[in-house]
Every structure is written in structure tokens, then in C-alpha cells.
Amino acid sequence: MTRKAGDNPKDLLFEKTTAVFAFGVLFLAFLLFALLVRESLPAIRKFGAAFLVTKTWDPVAESFGALPFIYGTLVSSFIALLIAVPLAVGSAIFINEFAPEWLKTPVAFLAELLAAIPSVIYGLWGIFVLVPVLRDWLMKPAASYLGFLPLFKGPVYGPSMLAAGMLLSIMIIPFILSVSREVLATVPRLQKEAVLSLGGTHWEMIRIVIGQHCIPGIFGATILGLGRALGETMAVTMVIGNRPDILLSIFQPGYSMAAVIANEFTEATGELYLSALVEIGLVLFLLTFVVNFAAKWILKTMVSRAARGL
């Protein structure tokens, strides 16, 4: 470590103090992890690795398995990505490449403002607007015409995996959008001009520079959105239907890891019940940690490539 500010004791004191704060954050994260592990020990001892692949969730019989929740979290997040990525990347392309100057800032600002809305508000909007509209205009017709496909099988209730995925997609669009815009802005000007100079259209220019420069970055943005979607609790709890079951149809209710913890924590009476919920928290913690870590790493390699002018 280099000492920049000489031996001034006040500087030294300042440096040490900030270092304590910085390591304090790391220590807190470690403490959180250690606590999750300690509290889940009874469940880990009782069920072992089978906890992750067991479908039963029966508090009365004290038989717990996390699979329905893991499945619900993954599927609702996947639906969210499926909707959010094309919308967000498309908006980023529009804002950066096509929108007139006077429109850029307001559109980008409003889209990014979506991130500031509290998730319980999203949840309420989901219950009163999104779910009824989806149920009457999309799920009912789809189930009656395409119901023979396992993916769209009825009966239709409203609260469902699809509703959760759609609500999540709106919530993660701002994150994917803003990272995608930054990624698009890193494309070297000379690369765009190369396409134009060969007689490429504006659209061909965008297609080529995205293929040549933006795929890793957009992938990173997607993983960042996934990280948000996996952990989202309140809005999902309000529209997913909260049924601990694994059903192939996206019109059927499901349950997510975050939702089951929020819903059942207060009523978890037995030690094992509580411990099983904490273990679900531990699984979620590890999953989001890995996803965010991967996103950071991908973005870093992309940025260093851009810096080398490739």
C-alpha cells in the first residue's frame, strides 16, 4: 500500500477510519451469510441435499422441500427476462440511435423512473389492473384455444406464473435499459462509419455494431436484470398465487423463494419449519450472489475489450 498523504496523523486517522467502514460492510455480509447457515443447520441436518429436489412442503407433517419455490423463482424470472430483454434493448436502440435530441432525455428519464416506484405499488397495480386484464384478455382466450398445450393449460384463476413474470419484467426493464444504453454508447464511432461507408443503412449499421461489440454487454445487462428479478419479493407475492406446486402451465399459480419467506415467516412455529425457511433464504442468497458476480465479471471483460479498441 502506498502512503499518498505523507505522515500527517490526521490523514492516517482518516484513512484508518474509512478502512474500518469499508471492511465493516464486508464483515456484515459475511455475518449475514454465517447467520443464514447457522439458522438453517437443523433443516440441513434433517433433509440434506434432498431439500433442494423435494417437492413436498407440508408444515403440519414437518416435511420440507424447496423445489417448488426454486422452480417458481426461476420460471417467473425467466418469463420476465423473455419479455424485458427485447423491450429494453429495443428502447435502448431507439433512444440512442433514432430518437431526436429533444425526446432522448425525457424518454430515458421516465423509463429509468420505473425503478423508483416501490414494489408494493407494482403489486397493487398487478392485483387490480394487470391480473384482471391478463385473465380476461389473454389467459382465458389462450387457454380455450391453445389449452391442449401443457404450457397454456387451464383452469384460469388470474394470479399466476405469467402475471408474476410480466410484472417482474416491467420492474427490471429500467436496469436492462440503462446498462444497454451505456453498452451501445461504447461502440467506437469508426465502426459505425465503416458500415455506413460500405453503403449500409442505419439499420444495418446497428445490427452489425451490436453483433460486433454489444453482445457481451447486453448479456451482462440481462444477468443484472435477472439478479433483480430473482430477489423481488413483495410484487411477486401479490400476483404469483402462492401455491407450492410445480405446474407446467404458466397460467397456473406458483410460489417463489422470496414470497414463501415473506408469507410464512411470522407463522412458522416449529424450529424445523423456521429453519427450512431460513435455508430457502440461504439458497436465494447464494443464487443471487452467483448471478451478480457473473454479471460484474462479464461487464468487466467487455469494458476492458472496449478499452483495447476491439
Binding site: E193, S197, G199, E204
Partner: protein
């Protein structure tokens, strides 16, 4: 027709800042015309006007005419996309597409605007372009190498091949050697001379020796004005304007 391009009273502005003042010049068909001058004299801005490369620059505006095939390229009837297929460009920094193979780099322009070509047609066009760019012998067994993995000089010749593949009539080169070593520079200069049999070439350079070696005609720019334009031999031996003489004898610039 003797002239490939006729420029009449061309003025250009970035915002309120005028960078070209009433440029009028004829660019001779199948000859090498060098645009020479000190930094900031408007020479790059000028050749980028010839294929409407400034179209996407906010605040950029031109006045006057640039006639290509007898029509003003800034008139509303001209599609800049089609114009750029006829008036190609090579840039100061080699800019191959980094994640495309050498083959794809050369073929990419042939696939634009919804054109479909068979694999063998593409292969033929790529070989022809790489031969013209004096790169075929070096690359014929390595056509799958990525654009970014080639040396700087090879990248620049790849960019020339890429520009030639779409069969332009005019090739604009904006200081094509300034990022290259002397050996690569010599190769590109040789290439420019060979290509001038079939193509009209406009080269921007601030290197007088280079202008002297490769040019049939030389235009000297200073602070946005065209000071004079003449046959290369005349400019370097007996320039009409005192400022040109001062520049070529190294008294400024």
C-alpha cells in the same frame, strides 16, 4: 467524362463554426488527387463531404454543390446509402470488424441492402478484392482469422479490400497511412498507384513526401480555404501561391 466529381462553392459548418469556405475543385477520373494541408485546415472534413459521411453528425450543415455523375449528391433525390456504394472510404485508423473473419469482413458490404449472393459468388468477389488490395497471398490460407488478429498494415489493406468489394467508382482515403509503420505505408502507397488505373482516388495526407510520391494532382488547404490545386509536379516545383510554397518548404505547418 474527364471529372469524377465536381465541387462548387462548398461551405461547411459544425454548428456556427464554419470549417470550409467556398471550395471549388474538379476531381479527375482515374487519377490520384491528394488533399494536403496542416492540421485543422478542413481536409478531412472536405473528403467526408464527398460521401455524405457527416450526415449523422448533429449540427453539421453544408452549402454549395458536389456533382457526381452530373447530379448534386446533396439534392433530396439522392439516397446517401446508394451514393456511398459508389463513393467508398478508407479511414485513418484501420477499422475492420473485430469479430468477423477476414473473409466476412470483405464480404460484409456485398450482403447489405438485402442482396443475396451465393457462397461461390462471394468467394470470387472476396478473392478479387483481396488480390486488388495486395493481401491475397498473405491471407488466402487464413481467411478465417478474425479481423482484430491481423497486423495494423494488414488490417488497413483488409479495409481497402472491403471498400473495393462493393465496386465503388471513387475511393476516399482519409490519411490511410498515418497509423502504420514505414513498410506498411510503402505497401499502401504502391497499392494506391496500382488502383488509380481503375478508380478515382482522393487521399487526405499531411505528409508532403507522400503526396509527392503518389499524386497526380494536389490540392492545398489552409484554414478552410482551398489555396491552390494543380498537377503534383507543378505544386512541388513551382507553386502559384506563396503560402503553398511556405508550406512545402517547411516554413510552417
Amino acid at each position: 467524362m474527364e471529372n469524377a466529381l465536381k465541387v462548387k462553392d462548398l461551405c461547411a459548418w459544425f454548428g456556427n463554426h464554419q470549417v470550409l469556405n467556398n471550395i471549388t475543385m474538379d476531381i479527375r477520373r482515374h487519377a490520384v488527387t491528394s488533399v494536403m494541408g496542416p492540421s485543422g485546415c478542413g481536409k478531412s472534413t472536405f473528403i467526408r463531404c464527398l460521401n455524405r459521411m457527416h450526415d449523422l453528425t448533429p449540427g453539421f450543415r453544408v452549402a454549395g454543390e458536389v456533382l457526381f455523375d452530373g447530379r448534386d449528391i446533396y439534392s433530396e433525390k439522392i439516397d446517401p446509402v446508394l451514393l456511398r456504394r459508389k463513393v467508398g472510404m478508407v479511414f485513418q485508423q484501420p477499422n475492420p470488424f473485430p469479430r468477423m473473419s477476414a473473409f466476412e469482413n470483405v464480404a460484409v458490404g456485398l450482403k447489405f441492402n438485402g442482396k443475396k449472393r451465393s457462397r461461390s459468388e462471394l468467394a470470387e468477389a472476396v478473392e478479387k478484392s483481396l488480390r486488388m488490395a495486395a493481401l491475397w497471398d498473405e491471407l488466402k490460407d487464413h481467411l478465417d482469422r478474425l479481423g482484430s488478429s491481423l497486423s495494423g498494415g494488414q488490417q488497413q489493406r483488409l479495409c481497402i479490400a472491403r471498400a473495393l468489394a462493393v465496386e465503388p467508382e471513387v475511393l476516399l482515403m482519409d490519411e490511410p497511412c498515418s497509423a502504420l509503420d514505414p513498410v506498411s505505408t510503402a505497401k499502401i502507397e504502391e497499392l494506391i498507384e496500382d488502383l488509380s488505373d481503375k478508380y478515382t482516388i482522393v487521399v487526405v495526407t499531411h505528409n508532403m513526401q507522400q503526396a509527392g510520391r503518389i499524386s497526380d494532382y494536389v490540392a492545398f488547404f489552409l484554414l478552410g480555404d482551398l489555396i491552390e490545386m494543380d498537377k503534383a509536379a507543378r505544386i512541388f516545383t513551382n507553386p502559384a501561391d506563396k503560402r503553398t510554397e511556405e508550406y512545402i518548404t517547411g516554413r510552417f505547418g
